[in-house]
Symmetry: C2
DNA sequence: GCACCTATATACCGCTCGGTATGAAATGTT
DNA sequence: AACATTTCATACCGAGCGGTATATAGGTGC
């Protein structure tokens, strides 16, 4: 019944038991969406990667869009956890540095696909009416809002030089983060992006 | 006769004359690719926007991929002309400013689609073997190489503070430019991006 | 007028897409 | 053993994709 439990307790099982683990299947689906984008990820690719058939996918996850949203949840929970901890850094500079280093590790690593799932999905989904795109853009906006709030606090605490608009500075940082995603997806050279991040941090306003 | 002449002289015409202007048709195709990306732009959309039929398209432009490459040529010639002039600015800061302002005008304007065609195409084309993606990424690399060269010259001229690596600084700038493309495509608020660009220029190293 | 050449319009091709109908297999319940 | 319930495997659906075959229309050269 709709993907059922992932939490501890074993649910009452009636009828033929499921032969796959929804969590690992979802993780496999995430990888496909991450490498191919929402629209380019076909059901054939997804089901093959997940090791299940189409009817199983639909019975467990609803449809392609619902599957994507669940994969996006998993992505934010597992892969973007560094954002939450970065925002807790004591200084604005520390926040920026943790965000940049975290993005580098997450989007340029060796084990996961390159680039940011959110950027890939929002840029690639260009349908006139596209709830996927709106969904992703909305999540990004709320994430940026948290960063703005953090920088406004830093501004109030005298942690940022007064002439700088904290809102614009936050936007500047997220712009770099999204640009890094584009670059990570294009060239597979993490060392170069390391230098890029270092350069950006070297011009970042301190105190 | 493969799209034939666009230059002045009227070519020798034998057989039924073409009923459309290849240049304006190509401009229409460019708009479609720009708003939808290469893969999402269907032949139905393209032919409707161009005002021609599929056989006419294939006779004049070859196929979808060839059409895209010609549209990309037109794009770089008409829409990215600001890059060439920006590189001629007397200072590194001037180069950066002209690139950022030019990108803002081009990718956030009211008359053209938002975002950068190159970014949209490279991010959205995720096929295992994708010559479109490689093509776009290669063009971007050559463009970035020119910027690096320009900044190395600026560095030699003492136009950049010595501790900064001109290569990394160039990469930093192009990262922001690509990030701006992502943002321009997502939110339709040029005023906010204006502030973003201002913020970036305010932290840009001077002398 | 006629042959020749090229662009047009229409209909079609094989293929893949997201999604589903159907029947068999595997469990718990009685 | 018989049934209810749920999952699995296969085959299938209509629609849209990029691309093309065919026949007709519209010109020039003779």
């Amino acid at each position: 019944m709709k993907c059922s439990e992932s939490s501890a307790g074993t649910t009452i099982t009636r009828g033929r038991p499921r032969e796959f683990d929804p969590e690992t299947a979802l993780a496999a689906a995430l990888r496909v969406f991450w490498t191919r984008g929402y629209e380019n990820a076909s059901l054939a690719e997804l089901t093959e990667a997940m090791g299940i058939t189409k009817p199983s996918l639909y019975a467990c996850f609803g449809n392609k869009e619902a599957l994507f949203r669940k994969a996006l949840d998993l992505y934010e929970r597992d892969k973007l956890a560094y954002i939450g901890t970065a925002l807790e850094a004591p200084t604005a500079r520390g926040v920026a540095e943790k965000l940049l280093r975290g993005a580098l590790a997450t989007h340029c690593g060796t084990s996961d696909p390159h680039g940011c799932l959110g950027v890939i999905s929002s840029v690639a989904c260009t349908n006139e009416v596209d709830s996927i795109r709106d969904h992703v853009v909305a999540r990004r906006a709320s994430s940026e809002a948290a960063l703005i709030e953090r920088f406004e606090r830093a501004h109030a605490e005298g942690d940022l030089p007064p002439p700088v608009d904290p809102r614009a500075l936050a936007s500047c940082l997220t712009t770099v983060l999204q640009g890094l995603s584009v670059k990570a997806q294009g060239c597979a050279c993490p060392s170069e992006l390391q230098g890029t991040v270092d350069a950006f941090l070297s011009i970042w306003p301190s105190k």
